[in-house]
């Protein structure tokens, strides 16, 4: 396990590359999901204002 984490001495490079990739990819999925909820709420508010 330690050998795996050590990455033949390149741990800092390998893990930072994978870490940044993970952050960017996860953010790419989460952003549109949050956005969808915001849009739905905005449309719901619009519909309620129409009814009033």
């Amino acid at each position: 396990m330690t050998e795996f984490l050590h990455m033949g001495g390149y741990a800092a490079f390998v893990w930072s590359a994978y870490g940044i990739s993970a952050v960017v990819l996860i953010a790419s999925v989460l952003l549109p999901i949050f956005e969808k909820n915001k849009i739905r709420k905005r449309i719901q508010r619009m519909l309620q204002e129409d009814q009033d």
Partner: protein, 248 residues
């Protein structure tokens, strides 16, 4: 055939089928990432020249491939949007830009992190591959900026489509830069299909990761396009039913 195509492109139909597909795409993509990462980080042997640092290839190369692939999807969607005025393809074009920008950013950053131990430098202005990939990032940012800068959104979409079509010139430059101009960046390892200069146990995880990235792009593209469709169609009855009702 045309009728079927047209119906698929209609916003409510698109919204429905993409909603059905997304969970399955998500599961498949997750499995591919898990298998690809395990293969790349664990089972693939260390490179005889680069030791374990070569493992950066499993995020760098798929991201770099996708940075170009997404650009082509964006430009083709733009062409379809201009010629046939299909609204959905305009939405696709616009949704591609931020995704492509993040893949390009990843390709540049992971490449830089890989370059430091291998070439002894984070960046080299004289390298055609590096500079043309940076230009790609600016093209994506330009597309996003241009669209938000033009008030009339119909004109903005047309301008963006033209910009992305012109920018396709950069794609073959990126691809062939390592062959035409022999600088720091190494030559292609995989595209010589008859005789790839990479071991099978190293190649298979790379192809799996590439597939995972491609599917990932499809998922994020659908998510973004669905949002845009929902907002643009907010006045239509189907959106009112959808948002007003309890179902999804």
């Amino acid at each position: 055939m045309y009728k079927w195509f047209h119906q698929l492109g209609s916003p409510p139909t698109f919204y429905r089928w993409s909603g059905l597909w997304l969970p399955w795409l998500g599961i498949t993509c997750f499995i591919l990432f898990a298998v690809g990462l395990y293969g790349g980080l664990v089972t693939a042997p260390a490179d005889y020249q680069q030791s374990d640092s070569f493992r950066i290839i499993y995020v760098h190369v798929p991201a770099a491939w996708m940075s170009m692939f997404v650009y082509m999807v964006m430009a083709i969607s733009g062409a379809i949007a201009i010629i046939w005025r299909i609204k959905l393809s305009e939405i696709m074009m616009l949704s591609c830009a931020p995704i492509g920008a993040s893949f390009t950013f990843l390709a540049l950053v992971t490449g830089s992190i890989w370059g430091k131990p291998m070439w002894g430098t984070w960046w080299e202005w004289g390298d055609a591959r590096l500079v043309s990939e940076l230009l790609l990032l600016f093209l994506y940012i330009g597309v996003i900026g241009l669209y938000s800068a033009i008030e009339d959104k119909r004109k903005a979409a047309q301008a963006v489509a033209i910009l992305s079509l012109v920018g396709t010139i950069n794609i073959p430059i990126i691809h062939y830069s390592v062959i035409w101009l022999n600088t720091l960046h190494q030559g292609p390892t995989v595209s010589k299909f008859d005789n790839p200069s990479i071991e099978t146990s190293m190649l298979i995880p790379l192809l799996i990761m590439a597939l995972a990235f491609k599917l990932f792009f499809g998922i994020v593209l659908l998510l973004r396009a669905r949002n845009e469709v929902l907002w643009r169609e907010r006045r239509s009855q189907w959106v009112k039913n959808l948002v007003g009702g309890t179902n999804q």
